[in-house]
């Protein structure tokens, strides 16, 4: 699946910090600092053109809630990108996790936390299954997760049809509505309260970011995943249990997908089979814009958050400027293409500079 390109074009070359942001193209090329600058500039531009962009209750709150959910989706994809794999079933794993959560609320009558835990376990189990099939057969992760996507799509819809009349679990356990609409303003320590613009749902994302960030930056397991991603043979020869790391990465991906499914269900107010159907594109957009290598071995956790923020800010801004929903897709696709080309252009430039 890797390209026929000369090998060094695939490696992630990070220019020293001093060179960062010297020109716009480089700023757009997945460098986190550059990405942050672009996001801030866009927020200022959109805010100036449409002051309503800063409306904390109607714009910022839902925007952050979407960013929160999609960042977790991006992290789910990042988990398997780290080992050089893909998870085409992120959306359907999310749907499966949400199905189990919704089932536990409606049919089993469990409380909010227990249902969430069951949903996460279900997501992780499906992810582990994908990992087991991949390591057991040696088949490309793409095909396995694609097949799984088909199967889950059918299964999830069938279960909803079996247990509900309207194809949705609508029972809300105590606390779910609060989770949906409460912001940090409802969370006070003494007299100090948070901002009403920041949804409490974002706390899940912060936990996920911290956990995944710790895993890949500090924990031995995470480093071993990255090594498996950059060179599986070398990793195997240096005594890393690569199969277990592959299964682990897919399990983590399933777990995070399940979390994202739960978050979307909380946002939407009901558990349906449609959850996660729009996750695939953002799941790649976030990590890729953020600087995660598709070939494995390099991840950028905070970059994923920024990549997702960028796409969501652009979507929100453009739709407030009156750009129709249909055109948003065109712009998103073009942004991804420009970002991809920019990485290549930078590589060509750095190579030329080095050779001269």
């Amino acid at each position: 699946m890797t390209l026929l390109a000369d090998p060094d074009s695939e490696t992630q070359r990070r220019p020293p910090a001093a060179r960062r942001g010297r020109w716009v193209l480089r700023a757009l090329t997945g460098q986190r600092a550059g990405l942050a600058v672009v996001v801030v500039v866009l927020i200022i531009v959109f805010g100036t053109l449409r002051p309503a962009f800063y409306d904390s209750r109607l714009v910022v709150f839902p925007l952050l809630r979407d960013i929160a959910t999609l960042t977790v989706v991006g992290l789910a994809q990042l988990a398997v990108l780290s080992i050089g794999h893909m998870n085409l079933a992120v959306g359907r794993m999310a749907a499966f996790g949400a199905l189990v959560s919704g089932f536990s609320y409606q049919v089993l009558g469990l409380n909010l936390v227990l249902g969430l835990v069951l949903g996460l376990v279900a997501g992780a189990a499906v992810g582990a299954l994908a990992g087991l099939i991949i390591t057991g057969t040696g088949v490309n992760s793409f095909v396995v997760t694609l097949g799984l996507d088909f199967a889950l799509l059918g299964l999830v819809t069938l279960v909803y049809g079996q247990f509900t009349t309207l194809a949705a679990f609508t029972v809300k356990p105590p606390g779910m509505e609060e989770l949906r609409s409460y912001s940090m303003a409802d969370l006070c320590v003494g007299d100090v309260c948070g901002s009403p613009a920041v949804p409490q749902l974002l706390l899940f994302t912060v936990v996920a970011l911290a956990g995944v960030g710790y895993l890949f930056a500090r924990a031995r397991t995470g480093r071993e995943m990255l090594l498996t991603g950059s060179n599986a043979t070398a990793a195997e020869l240096s005594g890393i249990p690569t199969k277990r790391r592959v299964i682990g990465a897919h399990t983590l991906s399933g777990l995070l997908s399940g979390l994202a499914g739960f978050m979307l269900a909380v946002t939407a107010g009901s558990f349906t089979a449609g959850i996660g159907s729009a996750f695939l594109i953002p799941s790649f957009l976030g990590p890729v814009l953020g600087g995660t290598a598709l070939t494995g071995g390099a991840v950028s956790v905070i970059g994923t958050f920024m990549g997702i923020s960028l796409t969501q800010v652009i979507q929100q801004g453009l739709s407030m400027l009156g750009v129709g929903l249909e055109s948003l897709n065109i712009y998103l696709g073009l942004i991804l293409l420009v970002a991809l080309s920019a990485v290549r252009i930078r590589q060509l430039f750095t190579r030329r500079r080095r050779s001269s």
Partner: protein
């Protein structure tokens, strides 16, 4: 390369063993058996209804597009690439053809040809982007897919274009001895692809480049050009699939192509195409499309939920990869 009749370029010494011609045939024989037995079983359970001419025609009509999109995916899989924009490009081209005829008043022939040319050009753009950015074709086509979905919606919006050329629709509904003309078109394309890959020099290059890019480069083949060629060919076949859709569907809207992506992979994978590149299985892909169609017929016959089709096809895809791998290891 010495055996022009085989579908694969084998270099068993340097890489993991590919599907050899004998095994390929066995995949196809299995699929053929499944199609025949499945059809016979469904005929029996339907009390013979399925054997009537019009019923056969209905079954066959809905195979044409799956065959074509399977082939469109297969030619990029042959060079170790994948094309996620199959559905989006097909949908965009279909609504554009419809709009050219209904809104701009173009004659059907011109609209169809222009649409196919445009789809081919988009395929070439996919290939050029992959070559230029040196990024995994997966992400590049993911990006173009997003753009094309947007373009499709921009052309057609929420309406359904149905008021176009009655002549074209007549072609879409026409049949010879209950075999739909559009299925013949699809099978002709399949035959052309088979001849291209087996008998022509660029076709052999395609497999050589997909099988072992380094060896191909050393023997003077431009891998970049082959990549662009494969994506262009994919675009061309998608253009034809779009034309078939416009001809056979009652109308075109923004949902056309939305459900093409998964079947486009299912047909070649079940048909025995290796995802690592270097092999094609035209007959296998065609037969696999029939198998998937039979699942759908069975679902309709027993009036089950449409979700069963996804479930069964997904399990079959997973089962196929696991079994193929087992068989290959034993061999």
């Amino acid at each position: 390369m010495t055996e022009p009749a085989t579908d694969t370029v084998t270099d068993a010494e340097t890489r993991q063993r590919r599907i050899t011609p004998a095994r390929l045939r066995s995949t196809e024989a299995t699929l053929l058996a499944v199609v025949v037995i499945g059809f016979a079983a469904l005929s029996v359970t339907s009390g013979g209804d399925l054997l009537r001419g019009p019923a056969i025609q209905t079954v066959l009509t809905y195979v044409a597009v799956p065959v074509l999109i399977g082939l469109a995916q297969m030619v990029v899989l042959a060079v170790g690439q994948m094309n996620l924009s199959v559905g989006a490009l097909g949908g965009f081209t279909a609504v554009l053809m419809g709009s050219m005829m209904a809104d701009a008043g173009w004659p059907a022939v011109l609209a169809v040809l222009a649409g196919i040319a445009l789809a081919t050009a988009f395929g070439a753009v996919n290939g050029l982007l992959v070559v230029f950015t040196r990024i995994n074709g997966f992400v590049v086509t993911l990006a173009t897919m997003t753009v094309l979905i947007g373009l499709q919606y921009r052309v057609v919006g929420t309406r359904t274009i149905a008021d176009y050329s009655p002549g074209l629709k007549a072609v879409g509904a026409a049949s010879v001895a209950y075999i739909p003309v559009i299925l013949m078109v699809a099978l002709l394309v399949a035959a052309a692809v088979a001849v291209f890959v087996r008998r022509t020099v660029p076709g052999r290059w395609l497999l050589a480049s997909g099988g072992n890019p380094l060896a191909a480069r050393l023997s003077g083949i431009s891998n970049d050009r082959i990549l662009v060629l494969a994506h262009t060919l994919s675009g061309l076949i998608i253009g034809i699939a779009a034309a078939v859709t416009v001809a056979s569907a009652p109308g075109v809207n923004s949902s056309i192509g939305g459900d093409w992506l998964l079947p486009s992979f299912a047909a070649p994978i079940i048909g025995g195409v290796a995802l690592t590149g270097g092999s094609v299985a035209v007959l296998g892909t065609v037969l696999a499309a029939f198998v998937v169609r039979l699942v759908d017929v069975a679902r309709a016959q027993f009036s089950l939920d449409p979700s069963w089709v996804s479930l069964v096809v997904g399990v079959v895809v997973l089962g196929t990869v696991v079994l193929t791998q087992r068989r290959r290891r034993r061999g």
